[in-house]
Amino acid sequence: MSLYELRNIRHGYRGRTVLIIDHLLIEEASMTALTGPNGAGKSTLLRLLALLESPVEGEVRLAGEVVGPESRQRRQRIGWVMQQPYLFHGSVVENVMLGLKFRKVKKRRQRALAVLSQLGFDADPGRAAEVLSGGQRQLVALARCLVLDPEILLLDEPFNHLDRRAARRLESMLARWVEEKGGTVIFSCHDEGRARRLAGSSIALQEGRLVPGQGVNVFWGRCVGDRFVTQKIEMILPAPAKGSQAMVAFNDIILSLQPFRSSIRNRFQGTVAGMAEVNGKIQVTVLAGEQFECLVTRSAIKEMGLTVGQPVWINFKSTAIKIM
């Protein structure tokens, strides 16, 4: 069943529209990634999902019910952590206890300390929250939200200030949370690789609109005759077209170590920037002017001896490009 359903959403501030979503469904007990560049509308969408704002037009449904900022009971079950969390004057543990205090829950300190240690917060919990580092602030805000035992977690760029170890720990904690508690996590993230690795589904936003194809291998630019020109590369199209987005499906990209002679007209040289396992296959990120993602089997990786940093070629037919 869909947990969230958004219909005909138009939202903005002071007359400027920043989010237009015709229809969007988000599944329950799953992890969903929100991807897109800065200013794509990810934080705005999260605020709508957190019931902190009402859309200017359209409706947000949560478990079938139309909801908004007035749905206080519903909101109590939603945890929301912003990109640059606001911490209150006082100690770390006082910050974590705040929501519990609002709800008049007992044994606040004990619960707050337990969540902090679960998140691997290693600084003194009695320390003033104002002097914490970016990563520590993020963890405190996350603890403040988790201690309330929410059913839905909305996290705005949660990995931004975390070091590698803390990010890994958070990743596995979130995965466990979804699996064991049946909770729903929706997080925004710049890193497509991480989004793919962690989330069962992803929502890609660009300039306030949903981008089809999950935002992977979607390029922005313009058509010039039978070429599609981005800021960095030029793709050859089968025929002149009109549109501002070009999309190449995952499976249509062929990875090779050498340029090969064939009817394939789009060839770009790049380097392997990352590899991550996705459903038994390996997702290879290649920087070839633009960032390309392609799926390769484990055995093919072995045969090619593919490693990060290695020069490779990206190949796809002009007919593989969809212009939108």
Partner: protein
């Protein structure tokens, strides 16, 4: 110049020797104005915080009105309250005229718009993330108000100190409603005005010095609080 220098020297001596008259007037002044600030805060804190929190269509107009009232001449406040508190006035039976309470009421009325305006400005100027965080953590109206006040305490405090400065430095209300009764309603400003007109320039000057010192102490206190809290 000799006259001025001699008066200044006498004034300094009066202050340094903690002259009983100077001390009594200064303490009366401080007591009355502190009380006035307390009374005004009692009303202005909830009103200012609510005004800062609630984004309603007429808010701008209300704040503009408060802004205009901030510049209210002290004698006008004194005059209006005199009408209300005098024997023939509607509140005449209370017998408050020419008591410290009359000055306290007058000064509270005088600084109320200033306090509400500055408190609401502080709350409105709070980090926009603060309100969102409070909402997301499930704060009710009271909890929201309390935490908005706590988090914007520096701005609020500055407004209150400013209000105290205006109260202790005003002369119109204290003169018209207090009547400058020695040892009872004689404040620093009324004493300065009247003693000087009687030719007691030294006493006026000494009280002026105390008033200046109060201003310095207040400013210092504010700076210190900004660092400490």
């Amino acid at each position: 110049m000799d006259y001025f220098e001699a008066s200044l020297r006498t004034a300094l001596r009066l202050i340094l020797s903690a002259d009983s008259e100077v001390l009594l007037i200064a303490l009366t002044s401080l007591r009355i104005s502190l009380f006035a600030v307390l009374v005004a805060c009692f009303l202005a804190l909830p009103a200012g915080i609510l005004l800062g929190m609630a984004d309603f269509p007429g808010r701008r107009l209300v704040r503009q009105l408060l802004g205009a009232l901030m510049a209210l001449p002290t004698v006008v406040v004194g005059l209006l309250l005199y009408g209300l508190l005098s024997r023939k006035g509607p509140w005449g039976e209370l017998g408050l005229l020419y008591t410290p309470w009359a000055i306290i009421i007058g000064q509270s009325v005088l600084i109320l718009p200033l306090l509400i305006h500055s408190i609401s400005t502080s709350v409105m100027g709070a980090d926009p993330r603060l309100s969102l965080t409070l909402d997301s953590l499930g704060a009710n109206l009271w909890q929201r108000g309390w935490y908005l006040m706590k988090e914007t305490r520096l701005g609020i405090l500055a407004g209150i100190v400013n209000g105290f400065g205006r109260a202790i430095g005003e002369v119109g209300v204290a003169m018209m409603l207090g009547g400058n009764i020695a040892g009872y309603t004689r404040t620093m400003t009324t004493a300065i005005a009247l003693e000087t007109s009687k030719g007691e320039f030294e006493l006026g000057l000494a009280l002026g010095g105390v008033l200046l010192a109060v201003a310095f102490v207040l400013n210092y206190l504010l700076l210190w609080l900004q660092k400490e809290i």
